[in-house]
Symmetry: D3
Subunit: 324 residues, 6 copies
């Protein structure tokens, strides 16, 4: 079998063509998802507390993902001597959840419906935000599968703890998602990586988080533990949901976000943790949030998001293939 | 009396100092407003249907307003041979209404409270958005004064009609304000200037608008009528509230906005209408909305907003002084 | 019949969803085009003589076009009291021609193949560049239909004459397309509007152009003639192909282009000529070129391109419907 | 004689090569200027009262000028049916005056020395700022030639009057140059075009200006007078020095400047006045100031500056040739 | 006691409200400073040798500081398990020193007056530049308190040595401050951290610096020494003045500056040194300079400046409280 | 001898003067190169597969190089206690190779001619791209000198392997240069540093590369080996040609490039390898490619390029002087 099909088809350079995620097929009818991975955009940003603009996260990550779509039959990584996301991994892009301006609850409900549709189809949901509040409906959608398959453990890459309970009546802003998740009985715990400096969560919030099963590690603490040390803190065999707030990364590589915080993770630090999770756990859901592309004229931030997602998906399905 | 005080005080160049509107005093306690004009920021942008970012409108217009704050005793305009906004016009900046992320109703209520406080103090309210939905609480706040002093007529400078009734449950987005205003019994009518090209308002909406007393004129229609022709369509002696959506202006001078529409007004076209309104009517309230500064690295948009507001305020109080 | 379908479907705000042109269906298989209008991207920019970047023109115009995609059943224009591009006009987006880096001839051939496919399907081809050299394969593709239906007359909106014959061996750069077109026996003439200031065409080139049937008018000459005066110079009943170089517009509204030239057209000047052409002629093909979005952080240029195209298409099919 | 030399030399596209003004020769030794026109950069910006950055004006205008440097033997203008700046007009770029940070007086003295060197060589000095204060040393340098050839009349294109006498000790900032010029006995008068809105000049300043021979016209006044009306106000036969503050133009085409003011001139308005001056007067010196390129990512402002300068120089030497 | 007051007051999100430093009170009258910390802006940038724009440093750092102003009762840091800058630390913003364009000496004198006023009030002066030359008046202002309390030792975070004596007459540019400081008898020494690559200081300058008590360490040397190694080189018990040139940091996190130099410090490297200084020394003054925000559209640089300052102030007053 | 000439000449601040490389003399006539180092621009970017814009690489690196041109007699580096590039090292800038739009082969031939001219003059060629395809003509130009002096070994700093043979007919795009080099009999081998993540080279390409003598190391592999470990893999005594693709560096410091890839080299990692190469090898040619400045408004990328080149050149000639 030919390892690629350049000579029989189009050259299809990255800058050419409609920008779906990875230039994969677009499936408009959510009752007809037939894939291993389904990408859903969640362009909601009314939950932000500083700069808005994450509504353009999905489009920007889709466009950036085309930079990594050179090959027709997977991407060869010489460090791992592996071809990732070859023709055997079926990815589809199901477009965006319908967002209703001024209406947080309806918008969230539409996101939840999208994730439910993906789960029902047996595909891995990958949701691109939007602000971090979109994690709330994503997690809600897991109630049924968890009832069947057992609880999920959340790995959060983030600068901020996002563990505010209710403040001025706000329960579903981008400062609340981890609290909302911790309240679910099908969430067994949270490992929060990269948490640093001030945020909207107060000292009370940290105390509550720890009491509710949140293992909080700063960037420097993660560095001291090393990749393996971090992985060893995850519950063995747990089914993992990964939520990546792009501001968990350092502003040097992720400036296009609403609430940047210096002192964040560099690329390989996160990549190697994700590769370890893929190796040791079943990853059941992913969201990546808070890419606000218009604050980053160079486009580094959506490129980072796309590069992390495509590599992580490659790791997950490479391991699945090995296990199969 | 000295016409300025450069020699006795600070030089106070535009780039120097805290950026309140026009570098005027900041009044934190809304029960202590003692001024002719009070500036209120309304940094709300969950009502936008395309690009967000109008939440930074108030800060950007304040900073831009410092460019026009050279003088200590008013600004001399050689075309009019007049000194505007001299020491006799007391302007204060009362800061921003408190905005609650994800919560449109509470945020709007806080804006309404600010406008009520200004009206109670007998000052002219000037509200800087935020998206155009913030006009809704601004108008609501006029119920009491209108009960006393009679209804208001709204002059809207805008690319879009903003006359959507309810859609997907949304009543308070940036496509709805003029419908909400027209529903008030203390709003006697609307004159909409600059309306052009497609928008969220459908044909139904235009028909409803006309039926509810909206006089709709495009940019080209305004040009054909001329300033005096436009002014003659306003009800004689009406108390006027002016709402300026910065996208009423052309994208060439107002690119920093959420939903730009080509073919808009140029500077003098609006300025001369505003000067005519100031001359012939009592102006009782102003809002200026939809400045999204981060889409305009050159800063032309907030500078336009500040220049229009400062000139308009100058005209209003110059005419008031002549009448007095 | 409902005039729109907001209540039965998605709200589908402009910032939501995959960015095809006007959010219309994507047709990947060029042998299956069944539509009135087919959009083709031609992301080729090796023909530019100053700033490159027009390769991102198609993606940027697609994304900008979503701003004008509020309605589900056409767009109401209150100035014309008409609904444009209603459900009866079928538009599809057929993606981009395959571009081969370093290889101008193959890239042009792929563009030509796309236009031929559209013409074969009986749809109106609308090609979004890329630099102006992509007009060369577009025109080439008309040989067969012209053999059948008669020649075409080209209306060119542009700052530059683009009438260089061959220079340093270059025949297919962005300075050559009108010369290449004039050489075709199925091109009956050219009307060049907006030509001004220096460009790569020398005095010889102007003389050759006039000798080969090019009617050259500057912006100021167009203004003196007026819309009707310009329209009257077009051959009566001619089948018209319109090529719009975005730099025909003024840099104030089209800064995102490779070779800006001050003193260009404003929005309504071009719009009204296009509306007149739609009224009086059969429009058989359109290209819009030289949008280089990364030079315009505000996005005014792709928004202009989308607004012009959508209005022009609306005019064409509105007139077609009236004639039918 | 060949009208151009494309086939015998380099193609030399605009983006290729060292960026001197118009890609003309660089003359480092100011005692060896042998040319009709000499370009001098004056990258001084300590005189600005709002945004700095005009120090990069000279480099940015040089780079932009390459866009208009297609031809080897002058530029053909089809509107005028004329070839401008052909091989018979010798232009050199003598680089920049040496600027000493923190030291206004020494920097100004170095600019003055450059202009004196150009005048001594019998060339037309064209100085690119830098902020408008650099006009002060430019004018100073004319004392000797004026003693010989008679006084100069200054035509100022500007948003601001720049007629502040002394304030807080400042005599040589960008708000002072016209006052300093008016004090010279070899300056017979000033015609100030485009003056509008507030600036650092107070009412006193306007009165003083008029008393000292300054004919002040706003943009709207210029429009009412028309080009010929404006030209008729210039003293017949006067030797003219033209100082162009780029902020005299509208922010829509000149956003990259320190103190933008809406309501400015459009391109042809200034171009036609300059063409009229070239036709009717001897132009003895030019400066163009306040281009702050980093505020204009699209580059429209330096392109405008280069386009205006190259056209104006073309007009001047075309008329000189006709007179000769 | 409640740890915060969210429920009783405003939510006061970061993007809401007038941008004073940390949203702390503005004190206009410098004779009425009653605080532990007073922030002074010094928007002076005529001393720069490459890109200007540091005049907008103070406003940009103030605006960025609001991102870290979530809490009403201090900021909880989970790594240190400490609440920093709680209600017991009184911070005021006293606005900007008056800057006079073209006049370095007067501008510097006004900065000096501001620092003297702060010192007289017994508060810690924190001066936000402006270019590094503003350190000169800051240091001058310490003569009296040093006469009383003993000399100061300066810790300089910087890419450049800034030890030029006099060149072309310039004594007070941004290349001179450390030389000027070293000349004071109340400055006991300098520790310069981060110095790298070429700068305006010549080999002579380095020799003079060492001779005058300057301990010069590059980024790599600091890394080899480690935080404790660096701290051990500071004179025990010395009263410390810290001057932070933002270009001491790496351009990856501080691109918005006038003279960037690759190979700079990362965030924690500086933070941990500052935390060590706070622990072991009495910090008597701080300046942070060379933030030129308009070169950083993402805003990372002012965010870094605000984050460093707020953390450093937190450390200082946390240690003071422990000692008390 | 004076170590600098500040007092006898101009101050010549970085922002002053014509932007040749390092402000060194411009030599237009390529038959008259008399220097140790000659800089050639190669503004060709038709070979790029994602974002174009590298055509402005040469101008941007030249302008950035002026930031490091403070001194008149070399630059003192305190870490090495050495003065680099003193008056004894003669650098000239020979401008750009002539680029012909749409024509890859002619453009490459012109680049080759430039490098041949430099080699013929006995100077070290330093070519600034342009995209990486320009390495192809650079290497071709070495055939004659290699025939005389022996083969060259290439050290490639890059994110991508660039080892595509022929695809869709493309042999000279930016994905092909290392394959083209490896085919030459005068290229003895390649050491590729920084290669990571997906690119246009497929698994086949990696296998071919290794078979043809390419030693491929990722960023993480280089880090594990350390500088000395990497240097030890280079063939002892080999004459080295260094090709630096700026995307070998991390996007945090080199965002302005066409195909950014996260996880790249930091500054000192590359600098120390280059310093080691200079110490241990004869460096016979350098190119630095893929700087696309318009994607980096902060200018960090061209500054990095200039800083790396100037330091590397300093190291090379410092070592040459020691050997001599």
């Amino acid at each position: 079998m030919a390892r690629h099909s350049y000579e029989t088809g189009r050259l299809n350079l990255p800058f050419v063509g409609i920008a779906t995620f990875g230039k994969r097929p677009y499936v408009e009818d959510w009752s007809k998802i037939d894939a291993d991975i389904a990408i859903l955009g969640a362009p909601f940003d009314f939950g932000t507390q500083f700069r808005s603009g994450a509504r353009f996260g999905p489009r920007s990550v889709r466009e950036a993902s085309t930079l990594f779509s050179f090959g027709h039959a997977g991407a060869y990584d010489h460090e791992d001597d592996a071809v990732y996301l070859g023709g055997d991994v079926r990815i589809v892009d199901i477009g965006d959840a319908d967002i209703v301006h001024t209406d947080t609850e309806t918008s969230h409900a539409n996101i939840e419906a999208g994730v439910r549709a993906i789960l029902k189809a047996g595909a891995l949901p990958v949701v691109i935000g939007g602000d971090h509040s979109i994690n709330i409906p994503c997690i809600r959608a897991f109630d049924e599968t968890c009832a069947k398959d057992g609880p999920i453990h959340i790995v959060q890459i983030d600068a901020h703890l996002d563990f505010v309970d209710v403040r001025h009546g706000v329960r579903h802003g981008h400062g609340n998602p981890m609290r909302r998740a911790a309240e679910k009985d099908f969430v067994s715990g949270i490992t929060a990586l990269g948490i640093r400096n001030v945020s909207s969560t107060t000292q009370d919030g940290y105390e509550a988080a720890r009491a509710m099963g949140d293992d909080i590690l700063s960037v420097r603490q993660v560095r001291r533990l090393g990749t393996e040390g971090v992985l060893s803190r995850l519950p063995k065999g747990a089914r993992i949901y990964v939520t990546i707030d792009i501001d968990g990364f350092d502003p040097s590589i992720a400036p296009g976000t609403g609430t940047p915080s210096h002192g964040g993770f560099l690329y390989y630090e996160v990549l190697e943790i994700l590769q370890g999770i893929a190796r040791e756990h079943d990853v059941v859901g992913i969201d990546l949030v808070e890419v606000a592309p218009d604050y980053d004229p160079a486009g580094s931030t959506p490129i980072l998001a796309a590069q992390v997602l495509l590599n992580f998906l490659g790791f997950i399905f490479h391991e699945r293939a090995k296990r199969a």
